[in-house]
């Protein structure tokens, strides 16, 4: 019998801004899990702190809301204690790529058996719009009113350079693509599954049309790491889909 996505419904009403990509990620996550036939009690979601982490009680599953930048080690501990559960770590770009980047690199390098979903809005949402590691150079934020002075970090290239078994990118402008990508990541059983979800921040960094003009779909994962890395490097033509799968 199919799992009804309603099982994942929390009574708590989300407080994200209208138009926030998090609504889409949250509902696609519920659908992906139910379509994969996971019941909520078989799933553990470990959240970061941020707008993303405010989703912690907006989904009905086993949830641990951890610390800023730290969902990965907690998720890992849970997975080692309970192999039978599906353990997913969720964080923002600030949390995963700066505050706790050591955890991302170490777990990816060791190809640890967890799923990591980056809700990557290229901005610090919850703390009202400061520059993030993935903020585009020149983008004006309260920290750098004259424009962010640095080139952004490339999370896909970073993770591809490790031994992560599964690396994908998707975006909130295409909910179905997002859902399918999540499903592939969650069903990956051979180690570390990383998905960089380019997420629209309606308030501090609206990106829907920016990405709509630039994304192209990769139908099948690249055959070699070199090709995958090469494709990941371009910010002009942005590859979405499963870029690497071992």
């Amino acid at each position: 019998m199919k799992v009804n996505p309603q099982e994942y419904k929390s009574p708590i009403v989300p407080t994200w801004c209208p138009g926030c990509g998090n609504y889409i990620i949250n509902s696609m996550l519920m659908q992906a899990l139910s379509e994969l036939n996971y019941h909520p009690h078989e799933v553990v979601l470990v959240y970061d702190i941020g707008c993303n982490g405010n989703g912690a009680d907006k989904i009905r599953a086993n949830v641990v809301k951890s610390l800023h930048g730290r969902p990965i080690p907690v998720a890992l501990g849970i997975k080692y204690a309970r192999e039978d559960l599906k353990v997913i770590a969720i964080g923002g770009d600030g949390g995963l790529f700066w505050e706790g980047v050591a955890h991302l690199i170490a777990t990816a390098q060791r190809n640890e058996p967890i799923v990591v979903l980056a809700w990557d809005n290229e901005i610090y949402g919850l703390t009202t719009g400061q520059s993030a590691p993935t903020t585009k150079k020149g983008y004006k934020t309260p920290t750098y009113p004259e424009g962010t002075p640095y080139e952004p970090l490339n999370p896909i290239a970073l993770v591809l350079s490790t031994n992560a078994g599964f690396v994908a990118r998707t975006y909130t402008g295409d909910p179905l693509h997002l859902k399918e990508t999540l499903k592939e990541a969650i069903s990956y059983e051979k180690g570390f599954a990383f998905v960089d979800i380019l997420q629209n921040c309606a308030t501090y960094n609206p990106t829907v049309s920016y990405y709509r003009e630039r994304v192209y779909r990769v139908k099948k994962p690249f055959k070699t790491k070199e090709e995958a890395i090469k494709a990941s490097l371009s910010f002009e033509k942005i590859a979405i889909g499963v870029l690497w799968k071992e």
Binding site: H41, I49, A56, N62, K65, G77
Partner: protein, 583 residues
């Protein structure tokens, strides 16, 4: 002349095998005597001055003395670095190559000692003994004067180095034999008290590891940091046998986060670190407090601040474990003082952490994790019954579809539902939350939950608090001597010796350091006119707690040079204070 007590001090550069040869000698001699061994080493891989300090006695002992009866120095630098540890007229053993490297004035300085020079190295070379075994020539030399037979020494070497390739074992055996042959007239004169024993000599890192296994621990994780690292090494060796997981974390933050995740999922998980590593764990410790997750952390102290003295000892982190982690939440601090108590307290720590769903610190230090304590077999096999606290095995969801994880209860402890059950879906939250774990903002829910968490401390005090051990009790004494943690061995011995001269003191030793029952302590200490507090730190950190119980510390004996207390020097300090005030 026969003696009751004898201390051997062997010093050489890192890489010369002083530590392992010393340990071997202690294991060997433990058959015949009571022993206590400690190591000193520098934070480097080659060179420096390492030592192994081995005391043997006809009566039980728990520490070293500052002055030794015999000193072996493997080079000039170590010789003069540690010559002060040798008693005047003590025996000094040098290889003749070391002796001949000395200047005349240097030789002059050795006049006050009983010097024995030997051609250890030259003879070893002649016999084609491998350089790695040279030190065992000296061990053989000493063993002969300590009632050990060559046969016993050789069979022990085989057992002790069982993993070594056979040509090394052969070389070790030859070295011991040569040592026996060279020893013609060394007199030590401590009669053995026994011919065999089942007692073991182990350090507290090993004892804690055994305690963790006994506590049905499942996962150990750590980032290497002296002096906690031996625990990582021991458990890594034990993991197959006991089917545990041992993981080297990529940072201390990963280690503690991992432990929080695994403990949340009911796998007993231990983390060990030292001061600087603990500092990094602060935020997660605070999370354990808020989210109510069991957590056990061993902090093996070394002298700080900062990188400090990585390989030496100190008790400078009591204030830290009492305060680490922002916000207010209950915590427990335990301090073992030997191998047996380390073994027991790790087991207790897991029970407490799970019963009260919060953090428990076990404070060790370099002196404990690396010194070798004589330990009875039954002391490291006893199992403390496992208590896992309130676990709801038949969970029921509320109407809203969630299990109320943070239900308010009379003792502050909310049941944890088993994980992965259809009726146990729940939220564990580092944000302030309501009974379901849903995030809340300022207001009454916060007050309710914060009060609930803090209520656990009251429950802990009521149900678990362990008063200080009264190790020496003298009726009508005016003076209380107080200590905690690793200082116990030296303090106990010094006071026992002093007890033959005066009985005007009682000795209290704290093993449970936080939270304290101040009312109980006030009552216990009110009868003493003087309170002497002994600590291996500079600011007398336990004093702050005693003062909260209105106990006035009249005198402190503090040591913070990186070395532990020694019986002989501590005895002199105590005798001065206590006898002066003796009626």
């Amino acid at each position: 002349m026969t003696k009751k007590d004898f201390q051997i001090f062997i010093t050489g550069p890192a890489g010369s095998g002083v530590k392992s040869a010393g340990k071997f000698l202690q294991k060997l001699l433990n058959t015949y005597y009571h022993t206590f061994g400690s190591v000193g080493y520098y934070s480097l891989i080659k060179g420096g001055r390492n030592y192994f300090c081995l005391r043997i006695s006809q009566t039980p002992i728990y520490s070293n003395t500052y002055k030794s009866d015999l000193l072996v120095a493997l080079n000039k630098d170590c010789l003069f670095g540690y010559l002060d540890r040798l008693k005047p007229k003590g025996i000094l053993i040098l290889d003749n190559t070391v002796y001949s490297s000395l200047t005349d004035t240097e030789k002059e300085k050795l006049k006050q000692y009983k010097l024995m020079t030997q051609e250890f190295i030259e003879k070893a070379k002649e016999k084609q003994i491998l350089p790695i075994s040279y030190l065992l020539v000296i061990i053989g030399f000493l063993s002969k004067s300590l009632s050990v037979s060559l046969k016993k020494a050789q069979s022990t070497v085989k057992k002790n180095y069982s993993k070594a390739p056979s040509h090394i074992i052969e070389s070790n055996k030859k070295a011991l034999q040569l040592g026996f042959e060279l020893n013609k007239d060394l007199k030590i004169g401590v009669e053995p008290i026994r011919r065999s024993t089942t007692n073991k000599v182990i350090d507290c890192a090993y004892a804690s590891s055994l305690g963790f296994i006994k506590a049905e621990g499942k996962i150990f994780t750590a980032y290497p940091m002296t002096p906690s690292t031996p625990i990582l090494h021991y458990l890594a060796k034990m993991k197959k046998k006991y089917k545990i997981i041992v993981r080297q974390a990529s940072t201390e933050i990963e280690a503690v986060g991992f432990a929080i995740g695994a403990n949340w999922a009911f796998a007993r998980t231990l983390v060990a670190t030292s001061g600087g590593g603990l500092d990094l764990m602060g935020e997660f410790i605070s999370m354990a407090g808020m989210a109510e997750i069991p957590l056990v952390i061993i902090n093996a102290q070394r002298p700080g601040p900062s990188t400090g003295l990585p390989t030496w000892t100190d008790q400078g982190d009591l204030d830290l474990v009492k305060a680490i982690g922002h916000g207010e939440f209950p915590r427990i601090v335990l301090a073992p003082y030997d191998a047996k108590s380390s073994y027991i307290m790790i087991q207790q720590a897991f029970n407490l952490a799970e019963k009260y769903q919060t953090v428990v610190f076990v404070l060790l230090d370099k002196h404990l994790t690396t010194s070798l304590f004589e330990t009875k077999k039954q002391d490291i096999t006893r199992k403390i019954p496992i208590e896992r606290g309130k676990i709801d095995k038949n969970p029921k969801l509320d109407k809203n579809g969630f299990y109320p994880r943070y239900r308010v209860t009379e003792d502050g402890v909310s049941p944890r539902p088993i994980l992965g059950h259809p009726q146990s879906i729940h939220i564990t939250n580092s944000d302030e939350h309501d009974i379901y774990g849903f995030s809340v903002e300022a207001g009454n829910e916060r007050v309710v939950q914060h009060s609930k968490r803090l209520l656990k401390e009251k429950t802990i005090l009521k149900k678990e608090y362990t008063p200080p051990l009264k190790l020496i009790a003298n009726k009508g004494a005016d003076i209380a001597v107080v200590s905690w943690g690793s200082t116990m061995g030296a303090v106990y011995e010094a006071l026992t010796k002093l007890g033959t001269k005066t009985q005007n003191f009682t000795y209290y030793h704290f093993t449970w350091l936080y939270p304290l029952n101040y009312v109980d302590l006030t009552r216990k200490f009110s009868r003493y006119k003087k309170v002497i507090l002994i600590e291996n730190n500079a600011s007398s950190q336990l004093r702050k707690e005693l003062e909260r119980a209105n106990i006035k510390v009249t005198k402190t004996i503090l040591k913070f040079d990186g070395e532990p207390f020694f019986v002989d020097t501590l005895y002199n300090q105590l005798a001065k204070i206590i006898r002066k005030t003796d009626k």
